[in-house]
Each structure stands twice: as structure tokens, then as C-alpha cells.
Amino acid sequence: MKARVLLVEDQEDNRRIVRDLLTSAGYELIEAVTGEDGVRLAEAEHPDLILMDIQLPGMDGYEATRRIRQTPGLTTTPIIAVTSYALSGDEMKALAAGCTAYVAKPFSPRALLATVRACLGSP
């Protein structure tokens, strides 16, 4: 069975790049545009891994991560934070909020795939 990845990302292009990258690598992708959607989908779908953009309109990635971590069954799910280069120190805050790893924007698709594989193993 394919590993399922929840992507929480508000930008269309970034979603498309990750979608094309991960589906071609053999993962199943669930997409959320806002932090609230992300939390809801995580609770409903229990994905194997979550890619969490930090800069989101409304509820941000930190808050979404904290809420997901409070849900039974999601406490150990790997969450990879996608942080913005613009805000140094985000990595620490992301890890403090409960993320497992982080990828700094601008991410190279190759580097992102490598991090996902490191967390899940090849599908």
C-alpha cells in the first residue's frame, strides 16, 4: 500500500511541484490549502507523513502542528516543516512546535524527496 502524505500549502505552484514530485515517486498525496483544513484532514485521514508550510494565512504552521500533535494517533506522525528563508530562527520554533524535521524554502525538489524518504523509507 502506498504511503500517504498530507501537504499543507497555500501556494498553488508549490502544491503542484510537490504533488508532481511525490506522486511520480510513488506516494499518495492529500492536499490542504489552509492550516484549519490541514488539521481537519490530518484527524480524518491519519496520513503517514505531513508536509507543513509554516507561513499560512490564518492559522500558521506552528499552531496547526501543535493541534495535530494533540490528536490521539498523530503524536508520532512525522511532520516536516517547510520554513521560509526570510525568517531566521523558524527552524527552532518549528522543532519546538513538534515538527520532526524541516526543509528551508526555497527547497530543491530533490532535497525534499530525500528528506521524505529519510522519514518514511522508499514506498
Partner: protein, 508 residues
């Protein structure tokens, strides 16, 4: 009390010029008055001295009179004993002499006119008697002469003697009184002069103190305020009560301070807006650029199907161009954040060895492209450092990137040494070197060493400025050692343990 006088002088609504002139004039008037009082005392003392001299003369004259009276009696007596012509002549001469004395006394004995009048009357009588006695003796009527001498001339002479004694005594008593009054006058004058002098000096001192402090006080206040303004504090005001030029100056100083404060706030706001705008703008620029780079990589990796070799090459160029553009945007963003004071160090433990190796791995292909030798010299086991690893890597990447960019042949060498409290990292190249004049300037924003190379070597000229800010934020310093034609060595130091928020003591 004295402070109240100072405040009072300060509040006088007159110019400083008028106040000073008035004070000097007042002091001059006091000095003149002091002089006048002194002079008056001198005149007084002098008058007493003259009086004493007069009295002394008078006493001498009275004594002379006394002496002459006795002489006269003696002379008449001897004429009775030796009644010859010579003795008569001498007696009459003496009588005349006695008359002169009395005439002279008329001018000095002004205070004893009554006594003197009696003495004169007695004397005239005495002359008559003596003249008569002499005539009797000349006429051979010796017994009659002696009779007259005994009955009249003797008692007259006695009375004259008593009178002259009285005159002398009175003059001497006057003398004693005069000496006492001279003494008293002297003491009085002395105290008046001393008192006046003390008063004058005291008044001059108080006046000088009040005026000088009514000027110095505000000047000091304003000086302190100006020092604070120079240090960037525009909030305070000087409270100067003076209603003169200094008061106007203080009011203007307060106005200037307020105006400067307002301008400073405007400038700060403008600078913040600019930095914020740059930060926002570069973020906005990066978003589509990220998409371009991401899609290019996916295409290149064959996600969207097989890519012909020719297109693959073009895609590589798209990516190189895109990454370059991203680097420039990141530089602008970094600098604007540093300027806005938003760049905070994310301090954690790091391995210097890992930093150097990361940079080596990233830069090795670039060096290989130009056939340059990239080498590393590291201590065997450098201790763990504490700082912002990503920013330190950024600094080293920048230095090595520059070295590779400007070196056409030879090698680029990364060296690191660990000392007690700091690391020192050096990047040495065999490039063209940097002229002494440029060695400071290249660390300033938008500067490249030789503007002619700017055309062939791309770059914003911000890399070294950012590197310097990062190193300084860590509490270290960065400099270059170079000679034109002999390569360049960039060195920077990092304290082993940087302060968590990058707040560091002022570095010169």
C-alpha cells in the same frame, strides 16, 4: 538665600550685556564710595594732627612768655642793685621783647582771649611801672624806685606769672583733650573704612556670584542637554528661567531638540518602511522564482517525461540563472533585515569541521570548473562552537565563492585554528590581490574592489558587507591581508561562545 538671589538675577528682564555692565558700574561706584570714605577719614586725622601742632606751638609760646616774665623781674631787680645806664638799657630792651611776645601770642591765643586780655592789661601796667622805676633810678631817687618796685612791680609780676601759668595749664589740658579726640577719631575712621571695605567686597562678591551663576547655570544645563541630544536623546527639555539671551537660547535649544526628535522619528520610520518594503518585495520576488526553479528541476529529473539532451542543457542554464537571481535577492533581503535590526542569530552548538566541510562540498565543483585547487587545513579535533551555524556557513561560502570567482589560476585554501576563546578562519587565494586603499572599502555596502572587474564578475557587492555584519553580530571581526599581485587572505574570528541574541558590547 544665595540661590534666590541667583534666580532673581536670572529673571531680570534685561540682556546679559546690560546685566554685566550694571554690575561692573555698581562695583565701580562702590569702589569710588570706598575711596571717598577713606579720604574723609584721612582728612579728619590730618585735621587732628594740625590741631595738635598748633597746640604745641601755643604751649611753647606761653612757656616763652613765662620765661620772659621771670627774666623781666630779674632784670628790673638787677637794675635796682646796679643802677647804671647799661642795666637800664637792657631792662627796657627786655620790656620791648616782652611786648613782641605778647603781640605774637595774639595770633595763637584765640581760645583764651579773656585770660590773654588780662595778661595784656597787667603787662601794660607792668611796663608803665617798670619804666617809672627806671626813670626814678636814673634820677637818683633810688629809695623811691625800690619802694615802687616792691609795692607795684613785684605783685604785678607775680600776677603775670600766675596768668601765664594758667595759660600754659589750659593749653596743656587742651592738648590732652585734643590727643584723646584725635585717637577716638582715628579709631572711628578706621572702623568706618574697614566696615565699608568689607561691605563693598561682600556686595561685589554676592553680585559677581549671582550674575555669574545666573549665566553659568543655564550654560551648563544646555551643555548637558546638547550632550544628550548628541547621544540621540531628544525627549528632555531644559528649564531655564532667564529672560535674557540665554533664555532665548534655551527656548531655541528646546525647539531644535523637539524638531530633531520629530525628524529622527520620521527618518527612523522611513528607514523601517524601506527595510520592510525590501523584505516584503524580496519575499514576493522569491515566490515565483521558487516555482520556476522547482519546475525546472522536476523537468530535468524527467518527472514530466523524457527530456532531449539539448533542452536539458538549456534547463541547466535556466537553473544557474535562476539561482544567481535568488542569491542576489537573498543578499538584498539579508541586508535590509540587518539594517532594520531584524536579523537575530539562531544560536546553537555547531561543529566548525562540519561548517568547513559543507562549504568545501558546495564549492569544490566550482573550483574544479576553473581548475583551481581547493584545500582545507583544520585542527584535528576543533572544539564545539556556539553560534548561528547557517550564518557562519553563509560567511564562509561568501569568502570562498569570492576567492574562486576572482582567482584564475592556483589554489584557494581554507584554514581554521582554534584558540582558547575563539576560532580564526582564513580563506587564502592566489588571485590578483586587493590594493591597500580598497581593503576597508570592500566591506562597505555596494563596493567592489575594482569597478572594472565588476563588469566581468557579477555580484551585488553586498556579500562582504553582510559577512561583516554577521561576524560582528557574533562578536568577532573580519579583515583582509593582501598585496596587489600576491593574492589575498580574508580572515575572521568568532568567539567560541557567541551571545544568544547577538547583543554585544560596542565594537570600535
Amino acid at each position: 538665600m544665595i540661590d534666590r538671589i541667583v534666580r532673581l538675577v536670572a529673571r531680570v528682564p534685561a540682556t546679559v550685556h546690560a546685566k554685566l555692565l550694571t554690575a561692573f558700574l555698581l562695583i565701580a561706584v562702590l569702589l569710588i564710595a570706598l575711596g571717598a570714605v577713606g579720604l574723609r577719614a584721612l582728612i579728619e586725622v590730618n585735621r587732628h594732627a594740625e590741631e595738635l601742632v598748633t597746640l604745641q606751638r601755643k604751649i611753647a609760646a606761653y612757656r616763652q612768655l613765662q620765661h620772659d616774665t621771670t627774666g623781666q623781674l630779674y632784670s628790673v631787680a638787677s637794675a635796682l642793685i646796679v643802677p647804671d645806664e647799661r642795666t637800664f638799657e637792657a631792662t627796657l630792651r627786655q620790656l620791648n621783647q616782652f611786648g613782641y611776645d605778647l603781640d605774637r601770642l595774639r595770633f595763637v591765643a584765640r581760645d583764651e582771649l579773656e585770660l590773654f586780655g588780662r595778661a595784656r592789661a597787667d603787662y601794660e601796667r607792668f611796663i608803665e611801672v617798670v619804666t617809672h622805676v627806671v626813670e626814678l633810678l636814673r634820677g637818683g631817687r633810688v629809695a623811691e624806685g625800690r619802694e615802687l618796685q616792691l609795692s607795684q612791680a613785684g605783685p604785678l609780676a607775680d600776677r603775670l606769672e600766675r596768668l601765664t601759668n594758667e595759660l600754659v595749664n589750659k593749653a596743656e589740658a587742651d592738648m590732652v583733650v585734643s590727643v584723646e579726640s584725635a585717637q577716638a577719631a582715628y579709631v572711628r575712621s578706621r572702623w568706618i573704612v574697614i566696615g565699608f571695605a568689607i561691605g563693598t567686597i561682600g556686595l561685589a562678591l554676592v553680585l559677581g556670584y549671582a550674575i555669574s551663576w545666573s549665566l553659568i547655570g543655564p550654560v551648563r544645563q544646555m551643555e548637558a542637554r546638547l550632550a544628550r541630544i548628541a547621544a540621540g536623546d531628544f525627549a528632555g527639555r531644559v528649564a531655564v528661567a532667564n529672560r535674557d539671551e540665554l533664555g532665548t537660547l534655551a527656548a531655541n535649544l528646546n525647539r531644535m531638540s523637539g524638531e530633531l526628535g520629530r525628524l529622527y522619528e520620521q527618518l527612523e520610520a522611513a528607514s523601517r518602511h524601506k527595510s520592510q518594503f525590501l523584505a516584503n518585495m524580496s519575499h514576493e520576488l522569491r515566490t515565483p522564482l521558487n516555482a520556476i526553479l522547482g519546475y525546472a528541476e522536476l523537468i530535468q529529473d524527467g518527472i514530466y517525461g523524457e527530456v532531449p539532451e539539448k533542452i536539458r542543457d538549456i534547463l541547466t542554464r535556466v537553473q544557474v540563472g535562476g539561482r544567481h537571481l535568488l542569491g542576489l535577492i537573498n543578499d538584498v533581503l539579508d541586508l535590509s533585515k540587518i539594517e532594520a535590526g531584524q536579523l537575530k542569530l539562531a544560536v546553537s552548538d555547531y561543529s566548525l569541521r562540519e561548517v568547513v566541510h559543507t562549504v568545501f562540498t558546495a564549492m569544490e565543483p566550482l573550483a574544479a570548473e576553473k581548475s583551481l585547487n581547493l584545500t582545507i587545513a583544520l585542527p584535528p579535533e576543533p572544539p564545539t562552537g556556539r553560534g548561528d551555524e547557517r550564518r557562519i556557513t553563509q560567511v564562509l561560502l561568501n569568502l570562498v565563492g569570492n576567492a574562486i570567482k576572482f582567482t584564475e589560476a592556483g589554489e584557494v585554501r581554507i584554514e581554521a585554528v582554534a584558540r582558547d576563546n575563539e576560532f580564526e578562519v582564513a580563506v587564502a587565494d592566489t588571485g590578483p590581490g586587493i590594493a591597500l586603499a580598497d581593503q576597508e572599502r570592500i566591506f562597505e555596502e555596494f563596493h567592489q574592489a575594482d569597478s572594472s572587474t565588476t563588469k566581468t564578475k557579477s555580484g551585488t557587492g553586498l556579500g562582504l558587507a553582510i559577512a561583516r555584519r554577521i561576524v560582528v553580530l557574533h562578536g568577532g571581526r573580519i579583515w583582509v591581508e593582501s598585496e596587489v599581485g600576491h593574492g589575498a587572505t580574508f580572515r575572521f574570528t568568532l568567539p567560541r561562545r557567541a551571545h544568544p541574541d547577538g547583543a554585544l558590547p560596542e565594537t570600535a
